[in-house]
Amino acid sequence: MDWAQIWRIVSVPDNVPITLIAILVPFYTWYGLRQAVATDRLIDKLQADPALAKTGHRKILPFLPEWSREVPVWPYLLKIEFLAAIIVTLILMIWSITLNAPLEEPANPNFTMNPSKAPWYFVGLQEMLVYFDPWFAGVVLPSLIVVGLMVFPYVDTNPLGLGYYTIKQRVIPLFSFGFGFFLWLLLIFIGTFVRGPGWMWFWPGQPWDHTRVIYEVNRNLPDVLGIHNLWLGGILGVLAIAIFYAGAGWGIHKWLTKPGLNRTLYERTSLLQYATFQFFAITVLAGLPAKMILRLVFRVHYVLITPWFNI
């Protein structure tokens, strides 16, 4: 274990925010889920007791009848805002005094940086280039992610769980979004801590060997199956993708129609909403990890090869 190598990556000034993410994201996940668990318990209690549901207080926050429902923004909200501004300013000041922004040599087109990494928030995109060609990883997939985020509220027909933390009432969106967020962070961690010179795979703590050469044989799916004819290979690729869509779609369908709340919500969903969700779920949330596993574990490069583009 080469701790110095790990430290060399962690202590790059532009990577300090990643350490911050590694602390803040788990903290706020816990902070939110803790409230969700408390709310779920309250929901169970109210559901078991209809009389209580009629009269009981429906928040996990304390409330006494003599308290006023509303408070003046000034000072109750403004003081929090000003306090937050002061704290953020302080943190930023200390951070800026103790750590300098990086500045490398002047730009030099004749001297390539190796590895040449994007800033951490784009390193996930760069890592996707390993699994897909640039037209897909760099252009189509990011567009799908942005559009997918935008249609998210329009395909979620759940009337429950608006305005409070809960898990049991919102399993599907929480899992879908959470998984996407996790994948995105995973790509960033791989891109930052695992990828070394030549964008080769170095386990964390493995020294970066600039002279290393990997003799890995990346095969395409048709070759794996021993098909070398271009036409047959193309048909096979389309078939493989079709089977993947059908299989993943079937699995997601099973999940969406699970008896109980999922089923109730499914019945409120129009065909267009259902199809839209399936498309994004299969293509982005299932497709990306599937291709990652194919590439990293089975060393399969392309599934579909055509004269115009490869997937």
């Binding site: 509303e70 000034w74 800026s96 942005v146 305005g163 933390y165 929480l174």
Partner: protein, 292 residues
């Protein structure tokens, strides 16, 4: 020429000055009664009176995005985590430090890198301004993701807030683009290669890139495709630096500001912060009005 009845009332210059001084003293003790104060703040503020305090918030251009009064639970930190507000505050910090940097920065191949060195070593507080600009940008992306995360966890993106969520997604893209365009400006190896790698992807844009699917068939070459449009050339050079500068300092901030104004306005129009609201039970789901 003065009339006789004016005679007894006439006072000495000293007395007039004393009177004026007395008035001034009272004004300083209670500035709220002065014309200047009234003209600026429009309402008189009583410390103890909630009504005029509400009016004070509503009558202030910087505070009027807030309602006068708000649900007692909505001010709790544990609901919103304050992440939207902190993101906005960081945007303000970035604007301020960014303007400071602009005073010293020339977007030319000859000077850009030297200007950064100058900022770091000679300009008073130049290094602090640069560091704060850098780290605030990174922090803003983190708080932005946490803000989104909170909105998802509380289900706040749903009706009637779907559109505001979409505005938010656009803000997310604009914020990332701001970071990306800013990365090139120091004109060092780090930025140069990051932007080279980034814009090389644009080559592969389907239909519009010279190496993308069906691009060449549509007549795309390295000299007329989207990458050329982004860089103002076929390599990352002086034109790319100028374009990055203009996108970074003018175009995207203006766009982002407009979308932020819409975003905040919609938060109010959509009924304020979505919660913390009372829980709804599964047994209370009403059948959908109409299945389309």
């Amino acid at each position: 020429m003065s009339k006789p009845e004016d005679e007894p009332k006439s006072t000495t210059l000293l007395e007039t000055a004393k009177e004026a001084l007395q008035g001034l003293r009272e004004d300083i003790k209670d500035p709220q009664r002065t014309q200047i104060w009234k003209s600026v703040f429009r309402v008189k503020h009583e410390r103890s009176d909630p009504r005029t305090r509400s009016l004070g918030v509503l009558g202030n251009v910087f505070l009027h995005l807030h309602p006068g009064r708000i649900n007692r639970d909505a001010v709790r930190y544990n609901y919103t985590w304050g992440m939207g507000g902190i993101t906005f505050y960081l945007y303000l910090v970035l604007t301020f430090t960014g303007v400071l940097l602009m005073f010293y920065y020339h977007p030319t191949k000859l000077q850009a890198f030297r200007d950064i060195l100058y900022l770091e070593h000679d300009v008073p507080f130049g290094r602090l301004a640069r560091n704060m600009h850098r780290w605030a940008a990174h922090l803003m992306i983190i708080t932005l993701w946490l803000h989104m995360f909170r909105v998802v966890l509380t289900g706040s993106y749903r009706r009637p807030r779907e559109f505001n969520w979409c505005v938010g997604v656009i803000l997310l893209v604009l914020t990332l683009l701001l970071s990306f365009t800013g990365y090139l400006l120091p004109d060092d190896q780090l930025g140069f290669w990051a932007v080279t790698v980034g814009t090389n992807m644009a080559r592969a844009t389907p239909l519009l890139g010279n190496e993308g699917p069906f691009g060449p068939a549509l007549g795309m070459t390295p000299y007329n495709d989207v990458r050329f449009a982004l860089l103002g050339g076929s390599i990352v050079d002086a034109n790319a630096l100028l374009r990055a500068y203009i996108w970074h300092c003018i175009a995207i901030p203006v766009l982002a500001s407009v979308f932020m104004i819409v975003h905040f306005w919609r938060v109010r129009k959509d009924g304020g912060i979505s919660g913390p609201s009372p829980v709804m039970l599964e047994s209370e789901i009403k059948p959908p009005a109409k299945v389309r």
